[in-house]
């Protein structure tokens, strides 16, 4: 009798645990945990177009839209930067709450080719950053993204860059909020931002 009561108790506990587990799993899926992941605060220290050192800390209070790319990339990079430019145009007065950043993963060549003219051609609000190789790698590690140099005899200067083409949203407190995967329409990025103001 005592054993049966214990068995019953265990069963109740097991079923309760399953329900709680299923419930939390459902709840986290509903929040899109796959997209947001555990909270972290990416940091960077990189030179801007004028050679001034800029750090993640100085942008606290603003949402950051961060894209890692290289200016010798005529296909993928302009698409994302065009979307960012469209978002900045459509934000209107709220544009001051958002700072778009283009982080060069090919900093030496991009500095030589001119970063300011490139970012300005898309939108004057976009700030281009190009650090040293070590600073760039540290920033990429902090954002948990990958980039790499691919030797290719047929490419300009004998190499091309492979990189994560996502657009990353950082909150005003510096926390990583989400990624917009490559090809996310500007309107979707805009409405996501507007829902956070």
């Amino acid at each position: 009798m005592r054993l049966r009561r214990l068995q019953l108790g265990l069963w109740v506990a097991a079923i309760a645990a399953m329900i709680i587990f299923a419930g939390t799993k459902w709840a986290t899926q509903g929040e899109g945990v796959a997209e947001t992941g555990p909270a972290f605060t990416p940091v960077f220290t990189l030179a801007d177009e004028e050679g001034r050192i800029r750090t993640s800390a100085e942008f606290r209070g603003k949402f950051l839209l961060v894209f890692f790319g290289f200016t010798n990339c005529p296909d993928v990079c302009p698409t994302t930067l065009s979307d960012v430019a469209q978002v900045m145009d459509d934000l209107g007065a709220d544009a001051e709450k958002v700072q778009p950043l283009f982080v060069s993963i090919d900093p030496e060549r991009d500095r030589r080719l001119g970063l300011a003219a490139y970012t300005a051609a898309f939108h004057p609000a976009i700030l281009g950053l190009a650090g040293t190789e070590a600073e760039t790698q540290a920033a990429a590690n902090s954002f948990k993204i990958f980039y790499g140099r691919e030797n290719d005899a047929a490419a300009p200067d004998g190499y091309s860059m492979a990189h994560s083409p996502g657009l990353f949203l950082i909150g005003p407190d510096g926390e990583w909020l989400r990624q917009f995967t490559y090809g996310t329409p500007a309107a979707d990025i805009l409405s996501d931002l507007q829902s956070r103001f």
Binding site: Y118, A154, S164
Partner: protein, 157 residues
């Protein structure tokens, strides 16, 4: 190659160029050729186009040439495991009865070694080489750097 360059130069010097031109060769229709403006000539330009194969024989785009760039190549942007790269495409299949697009985020012509910066409103010729149909030249409209598709009345953009 030489006679092609000569022909290309002649086309380039022609005063009026039709925008959104459509050309055909055999069963292939080539239309909606466009490119994006570049900042200077130091960075590569890009070339997009739409090819329709109305015939019953598979074909393939195997190369491009243009007086606008010293080293034009076919590329394919590939996003694999969250990493984008753009390897050289040896050939782009144009299967019978199908429509193939070179468009942002996929196949594209990579125009390396630009002879001059591409300016919005300009146009330049690109000669496409097909495995079976042969060569055909189309005029490419240079659109804004922020353009995301062709700017033609019938392009659905």
């Amino acid at each position: 190659m030489k006679h092609f360059l000569l022909a290309a130069a002649l086309i380039l010097s022609a005063p009026a160029v039709m925008a959104c031109e459509t050309v055909t060769i055999g069963d292939l229709t080539i239309e909606h050729a466009w490119s994006k403006a570049t900042i200077g000539a130091g960075r590569p330009g890009v070339f997009y186009v739409e090819i329709t194969n109305a015939g019953s024989v598979d074909d393939a785009l195997i190369g491009i040439a243009t007086p606008a760039a010293g080293m034009p190549m076919l590329h394919e942007t590939v996003v694999q495991d969250g990493i984008a790269s753009m390897p050289h495409a040896m050939s782009i299949p144009v299967p019978a009865g199908q429509n193939v697009q070179l468009s942002p985020g996929g196949y594209h012509g990579m125009l390396m070694g630009l002879t001059t910066a591409l300016k919005e409103g300009d146009s330049f010729p690109v000669t496409l080489s097909f495995e079976k149909a042969g060569e055909v030249t189309v005029n490419v409209d240079v659109l804004s750097l922020r353009a995301e598709g062709p700017d033609c009345a019938d392009a659905g953009q």
